[in-house]
């Protein structure tokens, strides 16, 4: 079968890795390449580099630092942040990304998912969703990288991820905003509901505060992968610590 993936995410702002709590109050965590190599060496199964303010600032990621990281990495690399045209997505792939994650621009123009999948293949297309519960309904948010631009959309998260799959996405990442940065664990309820609606892989994001949280989300929501940032940046647990805990629970990971 396939091992559950542990993904380290580098949230980047102004060329530095940052970490916020509930999508605001960002603190400096270091140089992107240093952290990318540290997580690779710790056994990360994949890296996401996410330019968190690119969409809100109407620009895309810096291809030079993307290529700098991609040249050194021998594990899969996904890029997110401000990609809203085919040309930008292709430029990401040509600078060493294996997958491109689209979020706010896909909400603005859902056909973009299909256009990108037709050209680059579904395996390159990840749709990320920033989701929060409003009056008991999970809703998709847009431009969540900056508290001045964030806005709720008309879309229900669970409908939107099914539409994303139908339009050609190869993978979905649900960023659970209510649990993001709080370190109390992944939003198992929301992720289980999301998982039941998809036939493509689902990645859990938001809330990892301890290795046991990964065990919980794999056991209770059966996601394909779980992503964390702050937990690893702050050295509260290494990728290896997480993998040993998941493996000890009888779940297959690549050790």
């Amino acid at each position: 079968m396939v091992a559950k993936r542990i993904i380290a995410c580098l949230d980047i702002r102004g060329g530095r890795v940052v970490k916020g709590v509930r999508f605001s109050d960002h603190a400096d965590m270091g140089d992107p390449l240093d952290l990318a190599l540290r997580y690779r060496d710790e056994g990360a199964d994949e890296l996401v580099i996410y330019d968190i303010t690119a969409s809100a600032e109407a620009r895309t990621i810096d291809y030079l630092w993307l290529a700098r990281i991609a040249r050194s990495l021998d594990i899969p690399l996904c890029v997110a942040g401000g990609v809203r045209s085919i040309e930008q997505a292709i430029a990401c792939l040509e600078n060493g990304a294996d997958k491109v994650s689209i979020n706010s621009p896909a909400l603005s123009r859902p056909e973009f998912i299909t256009e990108l999948a037709d050209i680059a293949g579904s395996q390159c297309v990840v749709v990320g969703v920033d989701s929060r519960s409003i009056d008991g309904v999970w809703r998709a948010y847009q431009f969540a990288g900056d508290e001045r631009t964030i806005r709720q959309t008309e879309r229900r998260t669970l409908d939107w991820i099914m539409e994303a799959e139908a339009r050609g996405a190869g993978e979905v990442v649900v960023n659970c905003m209510d649990s993001d940065g709080v370190r109390n664990g992944f939003d198992v309820e929301q992720l289980r509901a999301a998982r039941a609606r998809l036939t493509i892989p689902l990645v859990a994001s938001g809330g990892a505060g301890a290795p046991q949280h990964f065990v919980d989300v794999f056991e209770k929501a059966d996601v394909s992968a779980a992503l964390a940032a702050g937990l690893f940046h702050r050295r509260e647990a290494s990728v290896g610590d997480v993998k040993r805990a998941v493996s000890a629970a009888g779940i297959e990971v690549r050790l």
């Binding site: 990304a97 050209i119 579904s122 493509i200 892989p201």
Partner: protein, 198 residues
């Protein structure tokens, strides 16, 4: 060592080129038949869908250069699938250097498609490509179609059913997984591919 990476359209070919450069090879993305024929190694990468890739290959006049290439050629991901006779993906006729048909992986409740992630290899027979690689080693896969395990399989992997993870017939070799993104195991496989004495 010069390596021609065949340009069949948009895809993550930069990843492969970076990996070859890390191993000291000089890699070039090309759709020029002469560059392919003159290269010391050829990589047929995994880009797009089978029918589309075969059309691109024919339109660019690369089919003969690939079929007549006398030194090791490595198909990666879709590139491995193109070595077989046919693919269910777009009902495509492929290169036919390896017998068999590529078929769609079946989704199940506990098995999302694409098969995306790290799976274990089972080495089926010894081959220069698997020097230093053992059963149980993990490689990174991303695919929705897979090739059958037959006499040409060098290694298999399992996702609902067993499929060919690595193949070899004469100088035509293949990996269903992405060696360029499979850590130290993948680097070893690429280095075996480059180091083979022809």
């Amino acid at each position: 060592m010069t390596v021609a990476v065949v340009n069949l359209g948009v895809g993550n070919t930069a990843s492969i080129i970076f990996a070859l450069e890390r191993l000291g090879a000089k890699a070039q993305l090309t759709a020029d038949a002469r560059v392919i024929s003159d290269a010391e190694r050829v990589i047929l990468p995994g880009v797009g869908a089978a029918a589309f890739a075969m059309r691109r290959m024919e339109a660019a006049g690369l089919r003969d250069a690939i079929l007549n290439f006398p030194r090791p050629l490595l198909g990666v991901c879709l590139g491995q699938q193109l070595l077989f006779e046919r693919s269910e993906e777009g009902a495509a006729a492929c290169l036919g250097v390896i017998p068999g048909e590529v078929t769609r992986l079946r989704a199940a409740a506990d098995r999302p498609i694409p098969h995306m992630g790290w799976s274990r290899l089972a080495v089926a027979r010894s081959h220069p490509l698997t020097e230093g690689v053992k059963s149980g080693d993990y490689c990174y896969f991303v695919h929705s179609f897979a090739a059958p395990v037959n006499d040409n399989a060098v290694a298999s992997a399992e996702y609902g059913a067993r499929f060919a993870a690595m193949v070899a017939r004469e100088n035509f070799w293949g990996c269903q997984f992405h060696p360029e993104r499979s850590g130290a195991v993948g680097a070893r496989i690429l280095s075996n591919f480059l180091a083979f004495k022809c």
